[in-house]
């Protein structure tokens, strides 16, 4: 079975000399949800920005068999939908409907088709009622839903979500997990929220200093790297 995403020996260094990725190998298969765990600054977000061609390092990244290169970006960005951590960054058009239609219009769809796609996507995330509102009038949870709708409207095969539960209250987090669970796309979740990862992901990878230090099921990875709050509290307690 051909992977939807195939990354080989990916390396990336920022202009200030920081080595963010140091030889990452990764695969994502259809129907899978993979949680990307790891400390702040371990390279998680840098890694997923490569999947959409927003960053380009050394090594090979292929999305649905298409190599990520400057001349394939339009194709790649249609296949990989990236939902950013801060929804405010993702909502830049004057109305919710215009914002969700932004992607389909850029794909070359006619206005009516783009409008239909946008309305369908808004309905899918339960935000059809807000189509005429200005994005800055929405709550954090609503903004996140609209941001996801903006990506779904592009019909991607892969959803990449960077810290999807950040800024959401517990009911908002639960609602988001339920929504994501129903979406058929393969997903990559970059998250510190182990509960969210447990609920959604069939597999997890753990980033450490720009490399994947381990992978397995979410409970395995969490246990191996002591990566949930309880074990971290226990560690802290034992040090005191």
């Amino acid at each position: 079975m051909q992977p939807l995403v195939e990354v080989r020996d990916l390396r990336f260094q920022y202009d200030d000399g920081t080595v963010a990725l140091d030889g990452v190998d990764f695969q994502l298969f259809a129907g899978e949800t993979v949680a990307v765990l790891g400390a702040n600054g371990s390279g998680k977000t840098t890694f997923v920005l490569h999947l959409n061609g927003l960053l380009m390092g050394q090594g090979s990244v292929r999305v649905c068999g298409v190599p990520v290169r400057p001349n394939t970006l339009a194709q790649v960005r249609q296949k990989v939908g990236l939902v950013f951590q801060d929804s405010d960054n993702q909502l830049f058009m004057p109305t919710v409907l215009e914002d969700v239609a932004f992607g389909p219009l850029n794909l070359g769809l006619e206005r009516e088709q783009a409008r239909t796609r946008a309305l369908d996507a808004l309905a899918a995330v339960g935000m059809a009622h807000a189509s005429g509102k200005a994005p800055y009038h929405l709550s954090a949870g609503e903004k996140k839903r609209v941001a996801i709708a903006g990506i779904l409207a592009m019909n991607p095969e892969i959803l990449v979500l960077d810290e999807p539960t950040t800024f959401l209250d517990p009911p908002g987090q639960n609602a988001l997990v339920e929504l994501l669970d129903e979406l058929p796309q393969a997903k990559i979740l970059v998250t510190h929220d182990v509960d969210c990862a447990r609920a959604l992901a069939s597999r997890a990878v753990f980033f450490e200093r720009g490399k994947i230090a381990g992978e397995g099921t979410v409970p395995e990875v969490v246990a191996r790297f002591n990566w949930d709050r309880i074990s971290l509290h226990r560690q802290a307690g034992s040090r005191l």
Binding site: L82, N89, E98, F102, G103, L105, R115, Y136
Partner: protein
């Protein structure tokens, strides 16, 4: 926030809101040319022009008082030049300067309050205004939100640390710190703006803002422009003939 209010106003449902952006732009240009070239009988003409704009604002369903107040934002700038004219013993020139700048600002305010910015820029693009210039305008508008949000966050943080903006600016010892805060504001805004740009690229942005609105220049728009021409030019001709 000033631009948020205008953005909200621009999504109205009046007949003026429904006109093509190009028609409204042409009408405003007609008004501005007629205003800028008026020499004789400026005071009665300015009263009539103010009446035309006030009627337009009411017809568009916009709050008249708030619109008149917002257009006054240009007055501090022109007041300087008006004061120079007054000092030079030319009170009429000073009054003309203030009147023309205020009416021009009000006319432009009516345009942007009845036309969502993406539509306005799309209309300008279709009339041949360089795309690069329009893109700069669009980004500038979007990033106004970014800078004001960042400024609000920083102001809240400053107040939480028992400081006040006024003290930071007026206390000489803290002036340098306020300058530093301004630098931080721009650095944060830059980073935020970069994130927005990345989000746009991730959704296929290729340097061209596309919108759902597909308004075309219809017969009603032709009548609208013709009507604007008749009213503006007719008013000026009538006032000048009367005086």
């Amino acid at each position: 926030m000033h631009h948020v209010v205008l953005d909200r106003w621009s999504h109205g449902e009046s007949a003026l809101h429904r006109r093509d952006a190009r028609a409204k732009t042409i009408a405003v240009l007609i008004f501005l040319v007629a205003l800028a070239t008026a020499q004789r009988a400026f005071l009665p003409l300015s009263v009539c022009d103010l009446g035309i704009l006030a009627a337009t604002i009411i017809a568009a369903g916009l709050p008249l008082g708030a619109a008149l107040k917002r257009a006054a934002v240009v007055l501090p700038f022109t007041a300087v030049f008006a004061a120079i004219s007054l000092a030079a013993g030319e009170p009429m020139r000073a009054a003309t300067l203030v009147g023309k700048s205020y009416l021009s600002a009000l006319a432009v305010l009516v345009l942007v309050s009845t036309t969502p910015l993406p539509e306005l820029l799309g209309g300008l693009e279709r009339t041949g205004v360089p795309r690069y210039l329009l893109m700069v305008a669009q980004f500038l508008y979007r990033y106004l939100f970014v800078i004001s949000e960042e400024a609000q966050h920083m102001r809240a943080a400053l107040q939480a640390k028992s400081g006040t903006l006024r003290r930071a600016v007026w206390d000489r010892g803290k002036f340098a710190a306020a300058g530093g805060a301004l630098g931080v504001l721009f650095a944060r805004s830059y980073a935020h703006a970069d994130d927005i740009h990345q989000a746009m690229l991730a959704r296929g942005f290729q340097g061209h803002f596309l919108t759902l609105s597909g308004r075309s220049f219809r017969r009603a728009d032709v009548f609208f422009v013709a009507g604007a021409l008749v009213i503006v030019a007719g008013t000026r001709a009538a006032v000048e003939a009367w005086i």
